[in-house]
């Protein structure tokens, strides 16, 4: 324990919470099956040749013309829902992670840069970010994706633009605290160039709170993407994410064909809850007040 690097100690402590380990396993599993979707899915939902309208809207457990059981039923086009969810998960995760990464890089650079620069530049950057935080993320994302048009890249830009401010705020707060610490003054008095101080000293020490924000924001990005796709302004129809699957089944809800909406919904909830549980655990670990 004592001889381990900070990362190894972090993992040893993380492991103590069984909930968090299970949640992490769920996240890893979902990422895994999303990556391997073409291999594990019973059907390729994009291949129209596999679809048959006579199989449409069948309940879970139905054995279709393809000769295999539709464990979660089929949708309005006769598409196997399990396969559609696996492929949808792929797109949702991809959107969440890529948008989260963009937001992370942009927000963290702005936040730490502002904290390091200080003075007017800091004030300007942070006021712009405060201004943006005054608008709900969903509103910004809606406006942006509506004006940028449909498409993966456009949606990523919209999601990242709606979320980078959270990273910037957190990074700024953490970096301002680190900036005044002795070890930063020590390297400044060596002296080392500014970029080096920021990258090798300030940034790594700001990481714990940023990792927490990152997990939560990836979950938020996935939810946001699902919302936008549900409303029809997110991804094009050719990229059916979980949100779009839910939207597709929505009209059948009241006619008793619950599975078309509910199962993608459950997949989405499980994914978001699992990511949030992992994030909660990391936050508890990072919070010095809860330290034993």
């Amino acid at each position: 324990m004592k001889d381990a690097s900070p990362a190894a100690r972090f993992w040893a402590e993380f492991r103590e919470s069984r909930t968090a380990v299970i949640a992490l396993a769920v996240v890893v599993l979902m990422i895994g099956i999303a990556l391997l979707a073409p291999l594990v899915a019973p059907q390729d939902p994009y291949d129209l040749a596999n679809l048959s309208l006579s199989d449409a809207r069948r309940p879970p457990g139905f054995v279709g013309e393809g000769g295999y059981t539709h464990w979660l039923g089929t949708d309005a086009q006769g598409r196997d829902l399990l396969s559609a969810i696996l492929y949808g998960l792929r797109i949702s995760l991809q959107m969440g992670l890529v948008a989260g990464a963009f937001a992370f890089v942009l927000g963290v650079s702005l936040g730490i840069g502002a904290a390091y620069a200080g003075g007017r530049r800091e004030a300007f950057i942070m006021r712009v970010i405060d201004l943006q935080l005054a608008f709900p993320a969903i509103l910004l994302a809606l406006v942006l994706s509506a004006s940028l048009g449909q498409g993966k890249m456009q949606l990523i830009v919209a999601l990242a633009a709606a979320q980078y401010a959270y990273f910037a705020r957190t990074a700024h707060g953490a970096a301002s605290a680190e900036r005044g610490k002795d070890y930063v003054e020590a390297v400044l008095s060596t002296p080392l160039p500014g970029w080096r101080v920021v990258l090798r000293h300030i940034f790594p020490n700001c990481l714990p709170p940023l990792i927490v924000v990152a997990t939560v924001q990836v979950a938020n990005a996935i939810a946001l993407e699902a919302t936008l796709s549900f409303l029809g302004v997110g991804l094009p129809v050719t990229e059916p994410s979980l949100g779009m699957l839910i939207a597709n089944g929505f009209q059948y809800m009241l006619s008793g064909r619950y599975w078309i909406s509910i199962y993608p919904g459950i997949a989405l909830i499980v994914l978001i809850v699992a990511i949030n549980l992992v994030g909660d655990r990391i936050r508890d670990q990072v919070n010095p007040r809860l330290k034993r």
Partner: protein
């Protein structure tokens, strides 16, 4: 009522059951305390002295536990195993406690009067007027001037010493039979400490309260306590009358604690308590051999340096100031026109109490802060660049900071921390960096294999050695040491002082040594400069200043230092 002990502690054992195993913080401590007696509990950090205090009053939290078989008897009544509600009736009423940091124990959101009233109401019913009258009386008792008005102050309106007096006033409210003070003067300046010690002595005599004074400072305990217990590793290694223990210690540990004190040793000599390593530092790197020194007498010139801190008002505050809603920002003149000249190889001690500007001056000299006015030159070349956005341009001056826990990047191995500067400045090639780091770790008395470890794996003293290695690996000619031993235990302090003495000689370093501890400065420095409110009030050869202080402030400062009995300079 006469000779029966007030407090009888037998076999007190407090263990902490942690993930890493059982930590025996207090391991079978026994002592007895008579009415009105003052006992000093001395030990280094981790010796279990504070936990002993907390155990007596029942303030041990999970995962800590006072183990079975322990006994704490107050006037014959067993306190171990008492229900929390019963303990609460005793706490504050019969036994009260004063902690190290009064800012942490006073509620910043309530006035002093309210807090005293709450403390009163914990054990009795009092009317508002009565509570106020007693609050004023309590403050007056601890010599707070103008108590009538001060009752309505908030803690932040008091100085550190005043806050500690308030904490003592609250502890005395119910006339407890016993007060446990846990390092109550450690965070205070020497002159304030001297006042509080004198007052505490009077109060204890006046009220007949017994006192347990927990401290790491032998001299403080000596000035107050009737008898002392020296603790180490959760056990009492030596106990007895103060004078006997301090002048004729029986246990080798007590002896080594006393030997580690710089005040008991001849200035400049290695301290007996801190056995150092004998590995020589690596030789000066060829390309870093300093050029011929142009002016060895005026080697470091700090000329008319001034530094003030202002809070630059934002847009809204500016508007508010214009409208008269907000006051002009406070300006702190930290350093006010200081001129100092150091000879090459000289060690200058910069002494002052907190807020005197000594750290700011040190940071200006080290090129961390740009002065508002004046300049710092080493051998004729400026430390910082000129212009609007000045930055440090030389590596010839390096810094060692006070807190070794804060001054090392927790996410870098110590080897990387030491190698980073020299690599960035091309002092060593990447290929030789490992060997270079190992040489320096050996030179500061650490195992060279420690290079791959992280700071959290080291003790405070070891970290300070790493910090010294990091500063010296830059091949500086001048080193600014900002309280490098202030946060260390005496025995560790002695080792670090020895290390600095040795390295200074071997590397021909010029030292600026900042400290509030007069005895350390006397031991290490050739010359001292006394700082007070941003100015240097007196400077000269160490011996002369200490023996014949000229300025009133210097005299006061020297008089406030607690002295050990039998401190004969041998």
């Amino acid at each position: 009522m006469s000779d029966a002990p007030l407090l009888e502690v037998t076999d007190l054992t407090t263990h902490f059951h942690t993930r890493a195993g059982v930590v025996k913080a207090v391991d079978g401590v026994s002592f007895a305390l008579k009415r009105g007696e003052v006992m000093g509990l001395v030990g280094e950090s981790g010796s279990g002295k504070s936990i002993t205090g907390f155990s007596i009053i029942g303030l041990i939290d999970q995962p800590g536990r006072v183990e079975a078989g322990s006994s704490v008897k107050l006037e014959g009544r067993e306190l171990v195993g008492l229900a929390p509600s019963d303990l609460r009736k005793i706490r504050g009423k019969q036994i009260s406690m004063v902690f190290q940091d009064p800012m942490m124990t006073l509620n910043t959101m309530l006035t002093i009067g309210t807090q005293i009233r709450l403390a009163l109401e914990a054990h009795e019913t009092v009317s508002g007027a009565e509570a106020r009258r007693r609050a004023v009386a309590a403050l007056a008792q601890v010599r707070i001037p103008d108590a009538e008005a001060k009752v309505d102050f908030y803690p932040h309106q008091f100085s550190g010493g005043m806050r500690q007096r308030v904490a003592i006033a609250i502890a005395l409210l119910h006339r407890p039979k016993l007060i446990i003070c846990d390092e109550p003067t450690t965070a205070l300046d020497v002159s304030v400490q001297a006042e509080i010690l004198a007052e505490m002595k009077e109060l204890v005599a006046e009220l007949g309260t017994a006192l347990i004074w927990i401290s790491h400072d032998l001299a403080v305990v000596a000035s107050l306590a009737d008898h002392v217990c020296v603790m180490r590793h959760g056990r009492i290694v030596e106990a007895g009358p103060t004078l006997a223990v301090l002048t004729h210690p029986q246990h080798p540990y007590t002896q080594s604690l006393l030997d580690a004190l710089p005040s008991r040793s001849e200035p400049g000599k290695l301290l007996a308590g801190g056995v150092g390593s004998d590995i020589a530092p690596p030789p000066r790197l060829a390309r870093q051999v300093p050029p011929a020194v142009a002016d060895a007498v005026h080697y470091v010139r700090i000329e008319h340096v001034a530094k003030r801190f202002t809070q630059t008002p934002g847009l809204f505050r500016k508007l508010a100031q214009k409208a008269g809603l907000s006051k002009a920002p406070t300006v702190v003149q930290a350093v006010d026109d200081v001129t100092l000249v150091l000879k090459r190889g000289e060690a200058l001690g910069l002494v002052g109490e907190s807020g005197s500007g000594k750290s700011t001056l040190g940071r200006v000299a080290a090129g961390i802060y740009a002065p508002d006015h004046g300049s710092v030159r080493i051998d004729g070349s400026a430390v910082m660049s000129a212009g609007d956005n000045p930055h440090k341009v030389t590596t010839r001056v390096q810094t060692i900071f006070q807190d070794p826990f804060a001054s090392l990047n927790p996410r870098m191995t110590v080897g990387d921390s030491i190698a980073e500067g020299p690599l960035a400045h091309g002092l060593v090639e990447r290929a030789q960096a490992k060997t270079y780091v190992r040489q320096w770790l050996a030179a500061v008395g650490l195992d060279p294999d420690f290079a791959t470890r992280y700071p959290h794996q080291f003790s405070g003293g070891q970290r300070q050695r790493v910090a010294i290695a990091r500063a010296l690996a830059m091949q500086p000619d001048v080193v600014v040491c900002d309280e490098p031993v202030a946060s260390l235990d005496v025995s560790i302090q002695a080792q670090i002082i020895n290390l600095l003495i040795r390295l200074r000689q071997e590397l021909d370093l010029t030292l600026i040594f900042i400290s509030h501890d007069l005895s350390v400065v006397r031991h290490l420095c050739d010359r001292v400069a006394i700082m007070y409110r941003g100015r240097i009030v007196e400077s000269g050869p160490a011996g002369a200043v200490y023996d014949h202080p000229q300025h009133d402030y210097t005299k006061r400062l020297l008089a406030a230092v607690p002295v050990l009995p039998g401190t004969a300079t041998t």
